[in-house]
């Protein structure tokens, strides 16, 4: 298979502009002749659906939640980056581009990242025009903060609810198009397969989650905006419904899956409190601006934190990284916490956390100042743990949060399956091996508002006048039959174990062996253990109820079945990547000081996997070599 990323030529500053001119257009009267299917209604899906409907396309948007307003983008707390340079601190499109390529540890595609930085400024304009209530200065202009260790203040925010406000902006734009009759919305509807006709994506098979009816929809293009796969770990900060099924089904039908081993482990989450733990809650990264992270110097020190004198505490980030201290990037902070836990120094009743301590900041600034900055986060922490973080340090530990890997796309955001586009977290393109804070919202909205609506026209214009494929076509009947067969198989098992019990066990294997630190040996073990557990799953899983009703156990069972296959590919990808980069840390590849050691000579590529039958070892590797013409690879140092 020949991979063509279709990156335009010329100076990087003018590529997107020139490309927009070069692409073919669909004239306004012809746009309504095209039906576009969009799966997912988060930032990427809602913004793409609304924008394409405004242009004149007929859009069909699907989501599994009861309303498009509930997609998991809504949970993003911190903010959204844009190269506005409103703070006059030397920011620019080029600097945001540079920071993102470097932050991704030189494993992202330069041209995509430059375009992302370029359209970032338009996103803020659009959101403000929609009425998104960003934080403001007394003079009425927009406020910014520095986020995630950036040396400029380029992050726009709406209290601790930036994702919510941006999503509601996109949701409202979508609602307007639903009212105008240009978008048909299908809530509580889950996509279970892509339909391919003559090598091109022509539709999807869905299950109505209320009635259980399996049916299909045809269109001229299919867009997946279905988010990431952190829930493969079972415990993650993702919403419970987040899953890989749509992306995985597309992968099985021919879309390459790129860099599945690039997962982001966020350093500041509340550690699990017991066996029943169902998910993990993120505490915003902004807390590291004032909180100091430490563990006791002596393993087994059982004194309450307030009784451990300063000399007997190890502020390990400040010690190891004097320049950045508690503000080192996410991957570095997460690995450092793991190192302390592995050394037996973790704290808390379950010995599964490190302290994030605000005592010094409260002493310096007063409790009121800290409450003004983080009050809602402190309240949330108290609700969940029952502890008052104004009096005792927070307990935190890293947790899976975001996945940089995803379906491979070219510069147009089209996957290797013609007619199938992938946007937002579901694709692989912009964050390389590590995503910087406040960049996920930016990418989702860049893809949805400003990139896909242009590039999809270039594809559709080449198919003007072609006959529509009806959902009565045999390919649709066959795909529906396959889906119904899978549902039937899940229900027919006469086992005794619940879906969640398998998901937890799968998650714990992936977390232990393909989490924050990986070894070749561990990954090989994991691949075998996962394959073995997968067999037990299909033999012994118990899915109560039937397929023709509202059945949440059945929904989960289908998603977990796909996670089993993805997990094996993640391990394979992690095993083949014999280097450490960003969130991917191979213990065999580290410097004498324990830092990640890249191998640019052999691994400066995106690993793009072709489906080979479900086992990790069956997958076929294709490489997209990455070229760095502008930002020359260097070693990231935060010392």
């Amino acid at each position: 298979m020949q991979l063509d990323a279709k990156i335009p030529s010329g100076p990087i500053e003018t590529r997107w502009q020139k490309h927009r001119f070069d692409m073919k257009l669909v004239n306004p009267a012809n746009k309504r002749k095209f039906d576009v299917i969009v799966v997912g209604s988060g930032l990427a899906g809602a913004s793409a659906s609304a924008s394409m409907a405004e242009m004149g396309y007929d859009v069909h948007c699907f989501c599994f939640q009861d309303s498009p307003r509930r997609a998991h983008s809504i949970a993003a707390q911190g903010g959204i980056n844009a190269a506005k340079n409103y703070q006059n601190d030397g920011d620019s499109i080029y600097r945001l581009f540079y920071d993102t390529v470097k932050g991704g540890d030189f494993r992202a595609r330069e041209a995509n990242v430059y375009r992302l930085a370029e359209v970032s400024v338009e996103i803020i304009d659009q959101a403000v025009a929609q009425g998104v209530p960003f934080a403001r200065e007394y003079g009425g202009l927009l406020d910014n903060r520095s986020f995630g260790g950036a040396q400029v203040s380029r992050t726009f925010y709406a209290r601790g609810q930036t994702g919510q406000q941006l999503l509601l902006g996109a949701y409202q734009a979508l609602a307007r198009q639903i009212d105008a009759g240009k978008v048909t919305m299908y809530p509580r509807t889950e996509m279970l397969d892509v339909v391919v006709v003559d090598g091109r994506a022509r539709g999807i098979v869905v299950r109505d989650l209320v009635t259980g009816t399996v049916s299909s929809y045809s269109g001229d293009a299919v867009v997946l905006a279905t988010g990431g796969y952190s829930n493969v770990f079972f415990l993650s900060t993702n919403a419970k419904g987040c899953n890989v099924t749509a992306a995985w089904r597309a992968h099985r039908k021919g879309a390459l899956f790129a860099n599945p081993c690039y997962t982001q482990i966020h350093p500041t989450c509340i550690p699990p409190s017991g066996e029943y733990q169902s998910k993990l809650t993120l505490m915003s990264e902004s807390l590291r601006n004032d909180g100091r992270i430490w563990v006791p110097k002596e393993a087994g020190d059982n004194r309450p934190p307030g009784q451990i004198p300063a000399a007997e505490r190890d502020y390990y980030l400040e010690r190891r990284y004097p320049a950045f201290g508690n503000l080192v990037p996410r991957d570095v902070a997460s690995r450092a916490a793991k190192k302390e836990k592995d050394a037996g120094l973790a704290i808390g009743p379950q010995r599964n956390g490190v302290y994030l301590d605000f005592a010094d900041a409260i002493g310096r600034l007063g409790q009121d100042a800290i409450a003004a900055r983080y009050g809602n986060l402190f309240d949330m922490y108290e609700r969940i743990t029952g502890e008052n973080p104004y009096e005792v340090p927070m307990r935190i530990y890293p947790a899976p949060h975001y996945t940089m890997g995803g379906l491979w796309v070219d510069y147009h955001l089209m996957s290797s399956l013609p007619g199938l586009y992938v946007i937002g977290e579901a694709n692989f393109s912009d964050h390389g091996a590590n995503r910087l804070g406040a960049s996920a919202l930016m990418q989702g909205l860049a893809d949805g508002y400003f990139i896909l609506p242009y590039t999809i026209g270039n594809f559709l214009s080449q198919h003007l006048g072609e006959e529509k494929v009806s959902s009565d076509h045999s390919a649709f009947r066959d795909a529906e039959g396959e889906v119904a067969g899978r549902v039937e198989k899940l229900l027919s098992g006469n086992g005794t174990r619940t879906v969640d019990s398998f998901h937890r066990e799968l998650g714990s294997i992936v977390w232990e062996k393909c989490g924050m630190a990986r070894t070749r040996e561990g990954l090989l073990e994991a691949e075998n253990e996962i394959a073995a557990l997968q067999e037990v799953f299909h033999r012994e899983v118990k899915v109560p109820g039937s397929g023709v009703e509202f059945n949440q156990s059945l929904e989960r069972a289908g998603r977990v079945a796909d996670f089993f296959e993805l997990a094996q590919l993640m391990c394979r990808d992690a095993r083949e990547r014999e280097e450490s980069c960003g969130g991917h840390f191979r213990e065999e590849h580290q410097t004498a000081e324990g830092e990640a050691k890249r191998d640019d000579e052999n691994f400066s590529h995106a690993a793009c996997w072709e489906y080979g039958g479900g086992r990790g070892s069956d997958a076929i590797l294709h490489k997209e070599e990455l070229e760095f013409e502008y930002v020359k690879p260097s070693t990231r140092s935060y010392k």
Partner: protein, 246 residues
Amino acid sequence: MHLTLKIWRQSSPEDAGQLVTYEMPDVSEHMSFLEMLDVLNERLTEQGEDPVSFDHDCREGICGMCGLMINGSAHGPRAATTTCQLHMREFEDGETILIEPWRAEAFPVVKDLVVDRSSFDRIIQVGGYVSVNTGSAPDANALPIGKEVANRAMDAAACIGCGACVAQCPNGAAQLFTSAKIAHLALLPQGQPERQRRTQRMVEQMEQEAFGSCSNFRECEAVCPKEIDVGFIAMMNREYLRAKLS
């Protein structure tokens, strides 16, 4: 701790439904309310019984998907807290807990504790937005907005659309939800051109749905997990009057 749960079970919209009692002998105080239900469901599944259906997603109090009547109170006993963020330390050993779905004609039951809130989406669809096409926006700082105004708009925009306000209201009224969106946009300069049309259409859509009328019980404000205040309802009423008179 040992808890007794009385849970509303209803297999379909047509089913009459009934309360079923479940004993939970080993609940940890650190569990969230939904984790306790997860434990119950694991047990029911293993025993070959149908687990209890309930809506939930982010479990961080922001998506608005979860929502249960707990001992007659929407989202349970703790103020400013969604069901997913409620933890069992709020309850006493030996307590009996009554768990019901949102009770409102406008939110028909789908199954067990799951209801249909699409009426909320329909209210937003008729006008809960600023009509600005992608790509047509001026520079974000071209329009200064006072900090207090932006903050007040944010207070209203914080609504998560969970429906607790409707569920708690003796009339099943949706005034708090509808007014939050009307106020968010009426407070901001971006919302001015469509201010009257928006108010009129949203209020009229609300009245066409099966919601009741507001008679100032203020139960909505008391249970709102985002502490949205009834001042916005007064504002909506003024906005509506103004729209009708002009």
